[in-house]
Symmetry: C2
Subunit: 502 residues, 2 copies
Amino acid sequence: MSKIEKIKKILEESRIYNDSITMINWDMETEAPKASLEYMSKIISFLSRKSYENVVNDEFKNLIYSIDENTLNPIEFKMIKKVKKEIFEKMSKIPVDEYADYSELVANSSSKWQEAKQKNDLDIYAPYLKRVIDYNKKFINYVGYKNHPYSLLLSDYEEDLNVEIADNFFNEIKNELIPFIKKIVLLKRDELNRIKEKFYSRKYDIEKQKQLCKEISEILRFDYNSGVIKESEHPFTTNTGNKNVRITTHYYENNPLSSIYSTIHETGHALYEQQVDDIYEEYNLGGGTSMGIHESQSRIFENMFCKNEKFVKKLYDLLDKYFNLDINYEEFNLLLNEVDTSLIRTEADEITYPLHVLIRYELEKEIFTNLDEEISIENLSNKWNEKYEKYLGIKPTNYSEGILQDIHWSQGAFGYFSSYALGSAYASQIYTFMNKEIDIEKELENLEFSNINKWLKEKIHKYGKYLSPKEVIKNACLEDFSPKYYVNYLKEKYSKIYGLEV
Amino acid sequence: MSKIEKIKKILEESRIYNDSITMINWDMETEAPKASLEYMSKIISFLSRKSYENVVNDEFKNLIYSIDENTLNPIEFKMIKKVKKEIFEKMSKIPVDEYADYSELVANSSSKWQEAKQKNDLDIYAPYLKRVIDYNKKFINYVGYKNHPYSLLLSDYEEDLNVEIADNFFNEIKNELIPFIKKIVLLKRDELNRIKEKFYSRKYDIEKQKQLCKEISEILRFDYNSGVIKESEHPFTTNTGNKNVRITTHYYENNPLSSIYSTIHETGHALYEQQVDDIYEEYNLGGGTSMGIHESQSRIFENMFCKNEKFVKKLYDLLDKYFNLDINYEEFNLLLNEVDTSLIRTEADEITYPLHVLIRYELEKEIFTNLDEEISIENLSNKWNEKYEKYLGIKPTNYSEGILQDIHWSQGAFGYFSSYALGSAYASQIYTFMNKEIDIEKELENLEFSNINKWLKEKIHKYGKYLSPKEVIKNACLEDFSPKYYVNYLKEKYSKIYGLEV
């Protein structure tokens, strides 16, 4: 066996451990009985340790560093580079016992979060969150950082992202969007309230919602031969390779839009995973390249394609067929594009959404500014509420709609939220450039996604992790990332809907 | 760490590997997308190898054999004894590569079986079945056997069972039941056909069936805090410990009895697992002690409790409430206790059921009599059909209702079927002795299962694998196993229903 073959084999073994963990996590989120969760977390801890030990050892390190990079083809080169960076410059700095403990902690912490949220009881969750934060601070110290500790966490989800770039991005959002939102949030209020009253005061059979979501996912060309759609509390996508891609949604009897748009969002993620070329899987470069690019794919489907009025017209007919709607198309379109300040990120509209992310960004940055500072979760919760009042003008009245609303921190995913806003910004830019080659609205009018998906595959999806986020944007748009498309798109779209001058 | 602690830790690690496999198998059977199955099988193969290597090594062997058995408490003693027998007298005789290949083969083979059954195409499955059989023959040679090679496979599922004991048991069934069945199968035929025509020609809403099955499982006291009920092609029970017990059923729109009685059957299995004492889990003695005892628990619920007329009366009312039945209680009771020869084991009535097992027993015994003989699957299928004609008087007209009907062989579970018939025989004996302490019919009349379950827990369930099947029967019945209860029970019950002299 050549050195490269040996490396591929070892990486494949770690992938198998990680994919086993993925499957057990999937089970825990979607169906595991309560009493089993503790043992399931133990399984995850054990497998994490095995995955870690499999690559963090001198033998593998020597193998990796003994490779003459000049002899490698570009895919092999990228594989080796990624191993050096992620394993030997990051993971190996964390002692194995702490790595395994942490894996078990976050598995447990997620189920405590769920319980705490249901009971609106921060105390159940606070000690777990505190430990998760403390571990992350410790890990930052182990790995080391440049300029700002939080930059390390940001770059876990988005290569090359750091506090400086993120600050610039969020300042743009703060300066451009907050005043704009303040203006339009007051418009068409009465009309919207009347539409909402009509739309949300009736019941939409859940079995029918399931059928409808299936039909929509098929229109978007989700591949059921290599995918599954199921239910969970909080919609998400997970996968082991491109042939086993799983998404979830959540059905609410009085709100079919929730299940429809979360299905569309997660289908965007799923298509990215399903369209990665097999060759990259083999070199451990399968899967989306970053959380930001991933989110661009879910958001481009959710917002740019499926809230486009061409698509909305067809969606209206479909919903009307299933449920015999009480509102007309114009009302439906306005409802879908409502702008209102709300407390829950996942229910936020397209334009207030980045403010929710901004709040999380600022809180996380503060948590990870001084690594020695003791963190008080109660205090963090207060700051959460204050920022909602400051940026959105409303304040949570309980923990479940405040600091307990998101699963992410329980899973240790600090630095993740930014990629949500960044993803939307990528999506606007990608849409603009796709539109130069494909008449997108014409495709949407025909509920035709084959050309759109093909373009996304060729420009983005198929490369998996072989291209960095930066390279993906350059490949798709022939220029570097710029946030201007995002802010312009939002202001233009909503000015039109709400009858404002741009 | 003491030697015993070390042993417990190593066994726990293997249990974690095996439980990960269990969870992935569960996923494959219930929801995995088709394209993922091949990679899932690869995960299973990898984890099987790890589990194997974890215990099959000199270090662990030395540890086990260096223990002074005189220093052990009874639970420790049993743990060590089981390790010696299962690992060092069996598993370790099989080379690790073949063990892992075989694990992957059976995972693949199961999905090929499923496809073959759907398409009624033996060719898809035959080469896999042949390889599974060849591996089993090879493994018998590696391990060695006394008297008859097939005895080794029988004892995999039922400690101390061998061809001699099984031959005696099946001869009793053959001699006593075949002539008896021939007599009653002709009785009440017209009446039954009329009832069946009425009952099966309408639709029973599947969502309602789901609710009803849930209600019944709750009556039987299935613990949802440590259990899950889901759907699959072929109903089954699986678990990782006593806190994560999973059962499946399958819903047919024209036949609610299928989902109801498979739910009852699997709940019997599940209760056994859920009621094992925690202490035995810790010593690797968790779970049911044998397939025969396991099946006694599913059968005692399915047939002895839930086809008892006291229970059937209540079940009738429940079904009538859900579906507004077109038949009366007497007709319903006769329908439930119909005796008819059929081709499908899982749909067979209580009294013809053991003949289906008899056929599989004879075929398996023949396959594993001469280990050097080449096996022809086509030939095996012909023999299958001939035996159905001989014992049941009917012959399959296609593979799906013949040799392709069961999943077991695809999973390499040769020697398993016997435990189904043995389980029913155990159940009759256990029922007789339970009835001396509890007025079972009175409990059933009140749909009250707490005393019944408590008795089963105290006499059988709680011991897990700490007691052997032989010891379990002795503990519950204060005597050794005897097949006479079974044959007597069947003849008595059906003589009464069909108006024959006993």
